[in-house]
Subunit: 445 residues, 2 copies
């Protein structure tokens, strides 16, 4: 246990130097263990396991473009992201792992206690066993705090879900090498630092039902959050929110069709990498990895690299004294059921630079030009370092006041933090970007 976050920082720096890592970009052609199907271009592992990358055609009436084609990751199995919690002197502590992921800009980040695909824990790659997994598999002894099948990045994954779990135990838990206990308050501090808490940890932490850290300062956003937890002064009833969600699903369409990767319109499948002819959106590249602290010491894999840093933001506003978030009904290529509840803004601005301001994403300008005093946090986090290469997003909470319209159109609705958190307890309601913001927002100091 760390009495102060500085002690953690020392420990974490030690972890970073204690092991050997090397991640080297490599051509897709000849990537060890991976096959490019000569007919369709599909990228797949020679065992048929892990994941594959193929082409997808998307048609929807809930995006800027009504139809497009793109490469997409198909990983049908769902894994487990689990955090073990134990109270010491009454204070909940989370067992976190310093974990190397090849896509991380700084190699090592803090991950959940267990972060394992089914291939991982059924030992497809013949590595070591997954520590602490027994706490998350039935029959369990611990108390279930949170357990939902949650979607992941719909721009790059087709229907991908992971089981997000928080389990609280009272028994003794041995702390293995590379693991440490952190309080909600400490994690809250670390969530305000760039690229420390990984995506898998953030999405699980969004399910933690208690507020973290010290009591909120008067007039702070956290005070407004606490307030929203204890009052019914929400702008909309839960029935109205669910109706808005139902309306969005019923009134929009999302049709997908599998296509051959090497016939995906607008995409160039080269020997080295797969990229869009405009240079926008993302590329598929290969990496060769050497690691001294993973289940296997050496492997190669394809990864997705976005074309620029994204912006993921909630525009917030106090209504009747309670902080409300402007939630958007988001549709992406891989969304399981037409829409999920997402942030107000979620995009890579570079992809829209060539367009006139009027055709850029709604509220992007409001978020990017917000004065400092409206910004509750502005922090850079990485996406899943196991699939995405140097994929960073700026996460912001902007309290915009009257600049944010009360009626932002049928694709948007104002919710309190308590209401959005309750929605997130049900799988497939709140997208991963919004859950990431929720984790920052609810645990920030």
């Amino acid at each position: 246990m760390f009495r102060q976050t500085a002690e953690f920082t020392d420990w974490f720096a030690e972890q970073r130097t204690a092991h050997h890592y090397r991640v080297i970009p490599a051509p897709l052609d000849g990537l060890d263990g991976w096959i490019r199907d000569p007919d369709r271009g599909t990228l797949r592992h020679r065992t048929g396991g892990f994941f594959s990358i193929d082409g997808l055609e998307v048609r929807t009436d809930n995006r800027e473009t009504e139809s497009w084609q793109q490469p997409i990751i198909d990983q049908p199995e769902s894994g487990i992201l689990g955090i073990l919690v134990k109270r010491f002197a009454g204070v909940p502590h989370f067992l976190m792992q310093a974990k190397m992921e090849p896509g991380n800009i700084n190699v090592l980040q803090l991950s959940p206690t267990v972060q394992a695909t089914r291939s991982n824990y059924t030992r497809l790659h013949r590595g070591g066993s997954v520590p602490y997994l027994e706490h998350f598999l039935a029959p369990r002894r611990g108390r279930i705090v949170f357990d939902a099948l949650q979607s992941e990045q719909g721009s790059w994954f087709l229907h991908k879900r992971n089981r997000n779990m928080i389990v609280e135990v009272t028994e003794d838990v041995p702390v293995l090498d590379r693991f440490c206990w952190l309080t909600a308050g400490q994690i809250g501090e670390l969530l305000m630092l760039d690229n420390v808490i990984n995506m898998d940890a953030r999405t699980v932490l969004a399910g933690w039902p208690e507020a973290g850290g010290r009591p909120p300062a008067p007039g702070s956003a956290r005070e407004a959050l606490t307030l929203s937890a204890s009052t019914d002064r929400a702008r909309h009833t839960d029935a109205e929110l669910l109706s808005w969600f139902t309306e969005a699903k019923a009134s929009h369409q999302l049709d997908r069709r599998a296509i051959a990767l090497n016939e995906t319109k607008g995409w160039v499948c080269g020997a080295d990498r797969i990229s869009h002819e405009s240079g926008r959106w993302f590329s598929v590249l290969g990496v060769d990895v050497e690691a001294g602290s993973r289940e296997v010491a050496r492997w190669s894999q394809p990864m997705i690299q976005p074309s620029g840093r994204g912006v993921i933001a909630f525009v917030a506003r106090r209504l009747d004294g309670v902080l409300h978030l402007l939630v958007k009904a988001h549709t992406e290529a891989g969304t399981l059921d037409v829409v999920e509840m997402g942030p107000t803004v979620q995009c890579v601005p570079d992809n829209y630079l060539h367009l006139p301001k009027s055709r850029q994403p709604d509220f992007l300008n409001l978020v990017l030009s917000a004065p400092n005093e409206q910004i509750h946090f502005d922090v850079v986090h990485s996406e899943e370092g196991g699939r995405f290469y140097h994929a960073e997003n700026r996460y912001l909470l902007v309290e915009a006041g009257d600049d944010a319209p009360l009626d932002a159109g049928p694709g948007y609705i104002w919710m309190t933090v308590r209401q959005l958190s309750a929605m997130a307890r049900h799988g497939s309601h709140v997208n991963v970007e919004a859950r990431n913001l929720l984790a920052c927002l609810r645990l920030m100091p």
Copy 2:
């Protein structure tokens, strides 16, 4: 408005005689407006609209059989089932419609205010407009009470959903011919009569948040329900229930593959009808319909006729004074996302008569042999008369006491009525059979 239910009965009898109906079984070959694809055997409407019937292969580890093939209805569009509510002298009244459906055993039943497929209300079949539809389409003036995309019979429909809505208005509402206002108490009485309230009305009524009828008698099941609404004495927390649901989804598989209808193993595609070679499960037959009170006066269509009367039952038990229902994680051919929360028992017993008792569905014997004093209700209702021909189910609530095990295995969990009702507010959580029981249970006198 009817001061007494007897007045309704007179009105309803009048409706029955006021119009002309004829439903005549007809061979599938040559059914007016329908085509049997010569290669695959697919049954479809010549416009490409309404619905089609094709073959499906199912693989799952959550049923008696691990793999089977069957015909299934594909109706990708979702319609609206909407009930309009208005308070008269403070008492909520529901606007119900006496509606003819060709599959109804008694032709006429009470349906929601609006019961329309998208084909209906986009006028595919060139009939009249749908009355009261404007109350359910955005922008609406009324207050949304309930609005969810709910699944329908997974044994016969592939991924079918309808939007279930309850909208409360304060303005004057003209009562058209064939419509009437009924209170929750009156509907509760009618729900205890065989084949009066149709399936579409029952599934919507399950979303009504208030208890109906008179105050509960001491010691009655309704008192236990009321109690459950006001206490937290549930056996499991909501987090535990959601975890059980997540576990069921994550631990089971459900794979489907479209196959040609005329190559569906075990099924005989005749000129007249399609049936299973064993005579079990169901048949597909044709009907010619003449009606004087529908949008069009004459049409033909295929329908599904089950091989026998089904049993749909909740086994209940008081735990810590609160009525709990034994909910099962159900998988069916057409289930959208692996499992939904279903009744304790849901089957057509005739399909299992040839098996030894030990291989018959769990709790079927307990339900069928329950003494009278354990049975809170036992009533026969019809399924959707627009697609199912004479499809009747016995709906039962059996309070089994100690005969029902506290731990019935991982496929089952005990929930209070309040908890199951809250789950039903989210689409795709509670199946149509369980929602039907919920409607009976929550509105019964």
